[in-house]
Amino acid sequence: MSGIANRSAVPFGLTLSTLFVAFFSVFLLAEPALAAEAVVNGADTAWILTATALVLFMTLPGLALFYGGLVRSKNVLSVLMHCFAIACLASVLWLVVVYSLAFGDGGSLQSWIGGLNNAFFAGIGAGQVRADTTLPESVFFAFQMTFAIITPALIVGAFVERMKFGAVLLFSALWLILVYAPVAHWVWGGGWLAGLGVKDFAGGLVVHATAGTSAVVLVLVLGKRHGFPQDMHPPHSPGMVMMGAAMLWVGWFGFNAGSALTAGAGAGMALLVTHTSAATASLVWMTIEWVKGGKPSLVGMVTGTIAGLATITPASGFVGPVGALVIGLAAGIVCYGAVSLIRVRLKIDDSLDVFAVHGVGGILGTLLTAIFGAASLGGMGLGEKVGIGDQLWVQAVGVIATVAWSVVLTFVIAKAVGGIVGLRVDERDETEGLDLTAHGETGYNL
């Protein structure tokens, strides 16, 4: 790929002209530079193709419905639109540059960021096997893409009912490049956190901690919804919320068990612990509501589900079923508490609790991975001579680095986007609802 990949490129340095060259290089260099030595395993490929479909299904329509049902009916379409548009935008950006930044060869900057060598899928032969896997790189690329789709879409829950559509797109694009790509590279692309031994099986840090932390920072810049917190409304369609949550659950099998990248016992166990944590956290949330308020709600129960799923995510390749029960229990209790703290007590309008559920869940799970990953606690083992304390420290470094990077960059991006296109719709549009004012449609014409 000589001449194309600018090995010293960092995100800020990527120039349009470089991309331009990359764009056309795929026509010029149809022959892959590198002969594929490894072989594709059909069974693994079959499973990851399926997992890719499942993870796309999580966002479209899963997450969109989950979020859409939680807002008022005058904003439901805007939420669906946000999720859908972000998914499309992330897909194109993934091809253009983000995959390369996350998983490409970063050369001397490899600890920090990938290179541009794989921009526009350049330098990857159609049949090439992704290094360290038994998958065609196209399959690995597509599977990872679905993670890059859902992560910025998760943040939607923070800014519903008030953010400008243009700002949503611009923010998401910049965030994907400046937050997601580097963190994914650090943890999964051979970067410094991988080097440290941070364990994040399916995205407790890369997906949930980044999205959750960024959500709360964006909200602090963006501001509360008009009328928050005194004049709020219950979810306009709990049934839609449940439908979305169920799809997220099913799709999460692809997310976590797919992250094994093979169709074997590792995937099986990941699926099982994922399911167990989800079920447990759901029951915990239900029970808390029952005990506290007398009425266990559907929205509460499925919020527990998502908390259980987010929390098990980093741990899903490392723990056993009983560990998953405990993690689900912790997820239900801690995320319930976080919701009450952030939105109800601190009155931070992270409207659909992205930080409290995903951020807190992802961080909690990342830390618990060090504990229940230990062979002595039913886990798959932390590795030779690695004690729980050692691993916990490494995991904590991963959390701190991820959170710090997310906070700082999100703040900068949010301010920049605010300066360029403005973050909020005006109050009249907010009152009338975004469906009509931003998209010219109404949700229900019954």
């Binding site: 917190p229 709020m232 409304h233 219950p234 979810p235 509501e289 308020g293 009425k295 709600s297 929205v299 509460g300 919020t303 319930y336 919701v339 009450s340 939105r343 109800v344 609790d353």
Partner: protein, 112 residues
């Protein structure tokens, strides 16, 4: 002629309609409304926050009748709609200055 409006509990609608049919009322119009009054709304909890829904679902029945039937109709509605609990609703009566049946152009009591 009188236009009688009754605000009632939704689950009494069928009983009221049958009772009115029983005394010869041939038509009525029904609207779904929300009421605010002595009967309090309810509280919904959503992820730790409480939302007060002040309004209660009610049904409004409108019947136009000849003036001489007013008392009978009001009594019939009352009997069929009553449950004895707060929130049973109200009956309001206003004078109807004219009425017409669109299909035939008939006016007055013939239109009802």
């Amino acid at each position: 002629m009188k236009l009688i409006s009754a605000i009632i509990k939704p689950h009494r609608l069928e009983a009221v309609r049958e009772a009115l049919t029983g005394i010869g009322v041939e038509g009525l119009t029904v609207t779904e409304v929300r009421g605010f009054g002595r009967q309090k709304g309810h509280t919904e909890i959503y992820r730790g926050a409480e939302y007060t829904v002040s309004f209660v679902p009610k049904i409004k029945i409108e019947v136009a009748v000849a003036s001489k039937l007013e008392d009978q109709v009001v009594q019939t509605i009352r009997e069929a709609a009553e449950t004895g609990e707060i929130g049973d609703g109200k009956v309001f009566v206003v004078d109807l200055s004219s009425a017409m049946r669109i299909r035939t152009g008939e006016t007055g009591e013939d239109a009802l």
